[in-house]
Symmetry: C2
Subunit: 247 residues, 2 copies
Amino acid sequence: MMESESQERGQSQSERALSGIRELLFSGVFEPGARLSEPAIAERLQLSRTPVRAALARLEQEGAVDAIPSGGFAVRKFATDDILDAIELRGVLEGTAARLAAERGISPAQSMSFRTLLSEIDALLQVPGEDLDHEAFTACNAVFHELVKESCGSSVIARELDRLTALPFASPNALLMVQRDLPEFHGSLVLAQSQHRAIVEAIELREGSRAEALAREHARLARRNLEVAMNDDRIKARYPALTLVTA
Amino acid sequence: MMESESQERGQSQSERALSGIRELLFSGVFEPGARLSEPAIAERLQLSRTPVRAALARLEQEGAVDAIPSGGFAVRKFATDDILDAIELRGVLEGTAARLAAERGISPAQSMSFRTLLSEIDALLQVPGEDLDHEAFTACNAVFHELVKESCGSSVIARELDRLTALPFASPNALLMVQRDLPEFHGSLVLAQSQHRAIVEAIELREGSRAEALAREHARLARRNLEVAMNDDRIKARYPALTLVTA
DNA sequence: CGAAGCCGTAATGTATACACCTTAAACAAA
DNA sequence: TTTGTTTAAGGTGTATACATTACGGCTTCG
């Protein structure tokens, strides 16, 4: 029915609700812990309560929103420890993907994808730090982690990683803004790339345990980034999602 | 309206829908891959489409049900490889929980819980194989894995483990029926218990890496159980959920 | 001045109505 | 017989109505 003239065409109302609420959440419009009123959101996004409710239920499963025992949902308060654990867990999962990829072997096509991507990132890092195309680096970084995720050929692991990185701060490029805003951290991008290369090498040489350890260590970079971001008011000011992080 | 005289009081309609559909799914009522008609389920469970729909959406996130691109949901077909990967992943997650527990240390109370539980299981295994109280063993086994899950004190990891073990076959005691129905596998329960003991020991000695490796290996027992179950028609006949496993 | 009880407002959970779309079956034509 | 077409039935997505329940402010009493 319906399909009235809404903002973004081609999507269902539920999809609009989902992305709409996500955007509201992570732009810091709501207080952490505040109740999310379905009618209020529905009016704000110009749709009925039904898709809003569906989106909230989904966001609860994703961990972006907490269910209130007495009913309804509230903005989730993220403890710093939770985020650190989530990053650690991403390292574990990516490590498992890398290990399985090494143990099971990857196709020549996958190997080629890795290789060309590594070269691409190398090229990006060739220019002096200040001129770095940060946007492109972030995109390449995302692709790398996608490749790792798919390299093991397990839909189970891919699904779990997708779920985990739906969380705002656990995503592979969630905290790359640190390197953009604080030039003194440009060097860690070079380190990251050397880790990328080592992970690919380990996978190709079927060194499962090494691949796993490297991927875990690689995730620790994000940990450092989080610590930096939490202690830097410039960054906190520029990234409203960080207001959801308490303690 | 609502709160009419339904079967199980004290629960919401959504909860009834969730458990009702789960039960229908894993009792093999539906063909694998079959569409799940919301009106049909609603009538069968004596409630309206709304909670049914909510439950289906949740079951999709849990992985029990697949979303059909054109709309609606279908019974998920489980590939054997998917289940093996899920078991492997449970091992990885429990391994991580055990490692973190070792690294971070556990409280004396937690240590005591582990110790008393281990003794309890020892007592159960004291009797000759045929007389084993299988029900009690299954319960104790579940408690052990709960303790491991909580030993690391990370809600993030606990949440992920809960999600994963919501899947029917990845759960720690999902395939213990093998040991009940095939007496020749009673010995593996003794092995499992020795692994339990070693895991606890490693955690207490702060040997993180060993604890992780042991927990992973422990999960491999379930892998063997699955292989046995898939090749034994007596078991397949007695456990309808296995009909959802294809290939 | 503080605490406890009460009432009104608002929000949730659920049911139901309805338009669009998918699907499958019946039918016609080659 | 097979293929293409039409049509009818059923199913989904969404909106809305309604009863119940939670929450906040106000009053009243200790």
